[in-house]
């Protein structure tokens, strides 16, 4: 996984600005940490040195902090300013991070939802809409820890670490060598351990998920088991599954935490080695106390960002995975058939399908080779088993799904084929299409399914649109409403509108002028 997805930078404005600001703040923070260490060394050196300090123990780096800082009053003033500045920078960084994080998530969310909406009915029916909703609500939220915690540390790792190494190099060669030798070991060992344990972790992860699913499955089954008087038994099974889950999880964690241990071990041990090496050289008079103090304070700072990157890696991985999914989804193409002018008026026109077929997810055509003509004044009823393509055929008449085979025609004019189609808007706006489980927008959410169905049907009947397309209009309705809907359908046809409905309802089939059986088939 890339630590910084280039698509985030390239496509999301707030992300770009945030990366810049964070980089600048990172460098400022690095300089403040450096100066703070030098001030501490300068302030402590006079009281620790056995004799009066003569020359500057900080070499050319010492130019950053004047020798006067050896005076306690001056040092405290410097430190106060540094602490104030670091506090302000910290606040600014957090504020920026949260703001940029929410903006990026928000922009990405809008883009994904709008893209999902533009993919059309066929995609919405594929059942992936729920996945995408989960992605935009919960999945993308994982980007927040990525922006707030991980990215700043990543920038500190690329700003602070090199600056600190150069400084340590300027102060004490041996300490710098210890740091330079151990530093690459950290990512190296982490990658190595990651590689070695990947297969094992994946196996454990799969086991964890399986056991987790089985437990939830048992809980979901409680209403059913209660009805059969068998709800008590599985409690023991829940415990067994729980223990299995725990064992799988612990096996996976024992491995996963290894890389964390190596990270902490290497970074802390190298600081210890630097300290011990300097201690002996200091006792031997090979190095000055001011130098040693500065290196001692700086050494942990070299490793700190890297350690934090490791700590926040998992939070960031979830966020990046979500972003990756979002970009992948945004890359899916919409219908690219060329549009050839506006649709003709459908008032009084016979609408027909000819050799019509749409590819289903399972590779079949559903419907396959469907031909019929729905005349104005007639009620055309589409029947057939579930999953054979009744709803698809109905949506195709409204221009919501385009054919993969055959054509949709109206009054002798071709509206859509596998190659081209007329302008969607001019076609769709002439059709009163009512899907199964209508939504009706925000005001529909307080209504029951049956009420929504009636409201949506009423809207269709009362509209002045010439083509009426109703998908299982009598489902979820009681007997009385059913009768009134069937009467309204007959009345609409009598008024000269073109009516096509899908149904399983015998009474509605009885009211048909023509009954068409829709069947799926293997694609040619």
């Amino acid at each position: 996984m890339r630590p910084l997805d280039p698509r985030l930078i390239a496509r999301i404005g707030p992300a770009r600005r945030y990366v810049l600001v964070t980089a600048v703040l990172g460098v400022c923070t690095a300089l403040l940490i450096l100066v703070q260490a030098l001030v501490i060394a300068r302030a402590l050196a006079p009281i620790l040195a056995p004799t009066e300090l003569a020359d500057d123990g900080l070499g050319w780096i010492g130019r950053l902090v004047p020798l006067s800082v050896r005076e306690l009053d001056v040092a405290l003033l410097w430190l106060a300013v540094i602490v104030a500045a670091r506090t302000a920078l910290m606040w600014l960084q957090e504020r920026q991070a949260h703001r940029a994080g929410t903006r990026v998530v928000s922009e990405l969310r809008s883009a994904v939802v709008n893209h999902g909406a533009s993919l059309g009915l066929r995609w919405a029916a594929s059942g992936r809409a729920a996945d995408v909703t989960t992605l935009v609500t919960r999945g993308l939220d994982n980007l927040l820890p990525y922006f707030v915690r991980y990215l700043p540390q990543l920038f500190l790792a690329v700003t602070v670490t090199p600056i600190m190494i150069v400084v340590v190099l300027g102060l004490d060669l041996i300490s710098a060598i210890i740091v330079i030798v151990t530093l690459p070991l950290v990512p190296m060992f982490m990658v190595l351990i990651g590689r070695l344990t990947q297969a094992r972790s994946e196996r454990h992860l799969a086991a964890m998920q399986r056991v987790g699913t089985q437990t939830l499955d048992l809980i979901a089954g409680i209403p059913t088991l209660r009805g059969l008087g068998r709800a008590r038994g599985p409690a023991a099974r829940v415990r067994e599954l729980g223990d299995a889950h725990r064992r799988a999880t612990m096996a996976s964690l024992r491995v996963a935490f290894l890389s964390g241990m190596v990270l902490e071990l290497l970074t802390t041990l190298s600081v210890a080695l630097v300290a011990v090496s300097m201690g002996f050289r200091l006792a031997g008079g090979h190095i000055g106390v001011e130098t040693a103090l500065a290196v001692l304070v700086l050494a942990p700072e070299v490793y700190l960002p890297l350690r934090n990157v490791g700590t926040h890696f998992h939070a960031s991985a979830d966020g990046l995975a979500a972003a990756d999914k979002a970009f992948e989804f945004l890359g899916e193409t919409v219908d690219e058939r060329p549009r050839s002018g506006a649709a003709p008026s459908l008032a009084g026109a016979t609408v027909s399908l000819r050799g019509f077929g749409v590819a289903a997810a399972d590779g079949r055509l559903a419907p396959a080779d469907l031909s019929f003509a729905a005349s104005p004044g007639a009620v055309t009823v589409l029947v057939g088993p579930n999953g054979e393509g009744k709803s698809t055929a109905l949506a195709a008449l409204a221009g919501l799904i385009k054919p993969d085979a055959g054509s949709v025609e109206a009054g002798g004019v071709t509206l859509a084929t596998a190659q081209e189609c007329v302008d969607d808007e001019s076609w769709t706006s002439q059709c009163a299409w009512v899907p199964q489980r209508p939504d009706l927008g925000p005001e529909g959410r307080v209504l029951s399914l049956g009420q929504r169905q009636m409201r949506a049907l009423t809207r269709a009947f009362e509209s002045d649109r010439p083509v009426l397309l109703l998908d299982e209009p009598t489902a979820h309705l009681d007997r009385e409403s059913r009768a009134s809907v069937i009467a309204a359908i007959a009345a609409a046809a009598a008024a000269g509108r073109t009516v096509v409905v899908t149904t399983h309802e015998p009474e509605l089939i009885d009211a048909a002028t023509q009954v068409v059986t829709v069947t799926a088939g293997v694609s040619a």
Binding site: A43, A117, L216, D217, G242, V262, G279, P300, P385, W433
Partner: protein, 542 residues
């Protein structure tokens, strides 16, 4: 502490020792960092006095030990704390299952919503996270901070006090600010997120409908509004969170300044030695790491508290009847409803129903959607009390404890488990033999289909297994009902989503139940299913 989280954590049964050893390991880990800082400071300061190298040997060993200790103890802490928490979650999960299996009808029926169950899984884990990511880090912060302040106080009491104060402020102030942030996120954020979820799903799934009816702009506006509300809520919550982070930097800086000033002055006045001053001045550099974990711990605490509250709401009060001993099955018995009026508390009750259903006959319950057909079925099963009148099998009023003995209730959306076909049928009765299972499958016309499955009757179904179509599902539920050896069968909408062949299979199953002398109640609004019954009762007001 939040009472719900407190109760949930108590239910995990994690012992005091479980917490102590995790906090101990964590203290040793972060304590190693503090110790490293203190001893290294002493080492450098002592070395500056140019002693013989032997005087530094012990300190050098200790420094190296702390260098290794941090990683090792941290690994130990993570393993111990996760193991403790996971064991607790296993207990909590079992306990939650037991409570749910004995809960009131309303609670049990709410489990039919998959999202509730899925959230319950995450909520149970979240209680475990409270232990690992909240309680233990806070415990470690207290012990390590105390130890760090103690080390400094041992050298220079006044500086120890200053460091203790700084540590306290660096722990408490961010904790308060983070709490406020979490509360804002929980109040405004959760509402906004729920609205966003609805708006997003609607914008995507109902897009075709919006296009047809020119409602796309409204849907987009609703989505943008929800999106902005989420953004605003997040921004409000971020304000105190940013202050929390900044306050930690401030207080740790102030602690450092105070200790440095006191150390240098103490040496100038000859109160302490140089090495002691180095310990006082440099220990604060490592001492604040433990309190640094507090904001995240407080965030986790609030997340877990919300999860625990949801769990508590889910498992509300137990149904005392579910625990009673079942009455012995009364053989083949007549079901009688006398002026029976049913309804959920607070809802409009149904019209009174009087009917007797003889063994070997079937009654169809019909009526408009929402009139109370399923409620009547649940009342018959004893899951709800009648509003008025009575319903008895033979002479006894059924209770939930009689399920599986006197009656079997098959809900419209009854669950198929992610296990084999055979095990799914055994949900009806544990003793179902393979022959019996095949006979039932034959009866509902599924034997052919099961034979075609890769492992036949031992094929796993559902997630990760073989997917089942709506019709196959209905028939499997029918076969399961057939295998429940009970005098009374309660079937909720068994004909929904069945094609003609499916209706025929249902008819065969109902015919078999009647032939065996069982009493059958079917809720339906399908004419073909009504035709299978000996009598039809409508709940619609006439």
């Amino acid at each position: 502490m939040n009472p719900f989280l407190k109760a949930a954590v108590r239910d995990t049964g994690i012992t005091r020792w479980g917490y102590i050893r995790s906090v101990l390991a964590g203290t040793l880990a972060l304590g190693s960092a503090v110790g490293l800082s203190a001893v290294a400071a002493w080492l450098i300061a002592r070395a500056a006095q140019m002693p013989s190298p032997a005087d530094l040997a012990l300190a050098a060993v200790i420094v190296r030990f702390f260098g290794i200790g941090r990683g090792v103890f941290r690994y130990l802490e993570r393993i111990v704390s996760h193991d403790t928490a996971l064991r607790g979650v296993v207990r909590l999960r079992e306990l939650t299952y037991e409570r749910l299996s004995a809960a009131s009808a309303r609670t049990v029926l709410s489990l039919r919503r998959g999202d509730i169950v899925a959230r319950a899984g995450a909520d149970l884990d979240s209680v475990g996270d409270a232990v690992v990511r909240s309680f233990i880090p806070i415990g470690v912060a207290v012990t390590v901070s105390t130890a760090a302040a103690g080390i400094v106080a041992w050298q220079l009491p006044f500086a120890g006090g200053a460091l203790a104060l700084a540590l306290l402020l660096a722990g408490v102030v961010p904790a308060v600010l983070t709490s406020r942030s979490a509360r804002i996120a929980a109040d405004a954020g959760v509402t906004a997120a729920a609205e966003l979820s609805v708006a997003a799903l609607s914008a995507i799934e109902a897009n075709a409908e919006h296009r047809v009816w020119d409602a796309g702009t409204e849907a987009r506006a609703a989505l943008e509004g929800a999106n902005r509300a989420v953004e605003d809520a997040a921004d409000d919550a971020a304000r105190p969170a940013s202050l929390a982070a900044a306050s930690q930097t401030l207080f740790s800086g102030l602690g450092l300044i105070a200790c440095l000033a006191l150390a240098v002055n103490a040496v100038r006045h000859g109160d302490i030695s140089g090495p002691a001053a180095a310990i006082v001045a440099l220990t604060p550099l490592a001492a604040f790491e433990a309190v640094g974990a507090i904001p995240a711990a407080i965030m986790q605490y609030h997340r877990s508290a919300i999860a625990a509250e949801r769990l508590a709401a889910m498992t509300d009060e137990p149904d005392p009847a579910a625990d009673a001993n079942p009455a012995p099955a009364s053989g083949r018995a007549e079901l009688s409803m006398t002026n029976l009026t049913v309804g959920w508390p607070g809802a409009t009750p149904t019209r009174p129903v009087t009917a007797t259903v003889a063994p070997g006959t079937a009654l169809a319950l019909v009526g408009a959607s929402g009139v109370g057909k399923t409620t009547l079925l649940l009342t018959t099963a004893g899951a709800l009390e009648p509003v008025e009148g009575a319903v008895t099998l033979g002479d006894t009023r059924l209770t939930p404890a009689d399920a599986g003995v006197s009656y079997a209730l098959t809900l419209e959306d009854a669950h198929l488990f992610g296990t084999t076909v055979l095990e799914n049928l055994r949900a009806a009765r544990s003793g179902v033999t393979e022959d019996e299972a095949w006979a039932a499958l034959e009866r509902v016309g599924l034997a052919q289909w099961v034979r075609s499955l890769p492992q036949g009757i031992d094929t796993e179904l559902g997630t990760g297994g073989h997917t089942v179509s709506g019709g196959e599902r209905r028939r499997l539920l029918m076969a399961r009902a057939l295998l429940a050896d009970v005098p009374l069968q309660l079937l909720d909408e068994p004909g929904e989503h069945l094609d003609t062949a499916g209706i025929a299979a249902l008819e065969a199953a109902v015919a078999e139940m009647r032939a065996e002398g069982r009493t059958v109640i079917i809720v339906t609004h399908d004419d073909a299913v009504m035709a299978m019954a000996d009598q039809v009762v409508s709940l619609d007001e006439s």
